[in-house]
Amino acid sequence: MIIAERKSMKEILSMLEGVKKLLVLGCRGCVAVCSAGGDKEVEIMASAIKLGKKLLNEPIEIDATTYIRQCDPEYLEPLKKDGKKYDAVLSMACGVGVNFIADLCPDVKVLPGVNTTFYGANLSSGEWKEMCAGCGSCVLHLTGGLCPVARCAKRLSNGPCGGSQGGRCEIHPETPCVWHFIHERLQEQGEADRLKEIMPIRDWSTAGEAGPRRRVREDLLP
């Protein structure tokens, strides 16, 4: 899922300068699962803004609600009309939601309430780890299911580098070297010979280096 984290209240209050009527808008998608922008976080954000504005002696009227998702047009439909009632909408969704509101609701001033950080897995309650870089050119079938793009600090295609020591990354010693584990995993699976093949230079154009990516499936189009 997409992982996000709340922006600092200093940054939020700075964004909300002059805003007298605000909608804090949550999303029940990924940001709800990673406890950054679901119902509960929306409630906390509304209370924190109310307190912050009170300290600044700036009156503000705050409404709060949470949509099922902010990345599908049907769920944003009500905002086209309702959003006009507010000086600003603070979206607690990932950057996709904020962008989509900006695209679909040009009359609404949308602001980001969270920083969108990475695609990650939930290691335990309150702990997430990046597992996928969304590079658009998956090589997991060659690497025992472990991603060298998201989990190697140097994004090496043929690792490990000379700095890998005792299964640890030289850049972040607390982080396991993913290439060390790729070697171990493939040996366990009897596919160690696969590592003798040199992976070709990666085509980064699929990773968004050539502008915003778009995918169309003709069979699903209306």
């Binding site: 209370s47 924190a48 109310k50």
Partner: protein, 138 residues
């Protein structure tokens, strides 16, 4: 999102959220006996684990200058993990207060052995003293 407002809370200098199981004496009795400052408003909860961060922040918005949360001792929580959850939420609320420029030591959590009220009296008095000291500095 709607919350019931305690009429007295607007005037409360200190708000104390207390677990129903930890407070053996009616909080108002503590006031009547002069054991805690008059300016405290107690709010009893079925369990401090039910306390949300937003309720703590709202208490400050409604005029409280300090807030405390009194829960069961961690290992003796009536609802097993309620006071542990409350302590984590208090920690998060303190972080938000700090980001807003409010001294985080205006918010305290105390763990009260079943049947005792002394920790509540102590934290109430301590917060009152802190507030007096802060006012003296400003």
């Amino acid at each position: 999102m709607a919350k019931k407002k305690n009429k007295n809370q607007a005037q409360a200098e200190i708000v104390g959220f207390c677990c129903n199981y930890t407070v053996s004496v009616e909080p108002e009795v503590l006031k009547e006996r002069g054991l805690v400052p008059e300016s405290i408003v107690f709010k009893r909860l079925p369990c401090t684990g039910r306390l949300e961060v937003s309720a703590i922040l709202d208490a400050f918005s409604e005029g409280a200058k300090a807030v405390f949360v009194a829960g069961c001792k961690i290992e003796e929580c009536h609802n097993l993990s309620g006071s542990k959850r409350a302590a984590k939420r208090v920690q998060y609320a303190r972080k938000i207060l700090e980001e807003l420029g409010i001294a985080p030591d205006r918010l305290e959590m105390v763990f009260v052995p079943r049947g005792e009220s002394e920790p509540i009296v102590e934290v109430a008095r301590e917060l009152k003293m802190r507030l007096s000291a802060m006012e003296g500095q400003s």
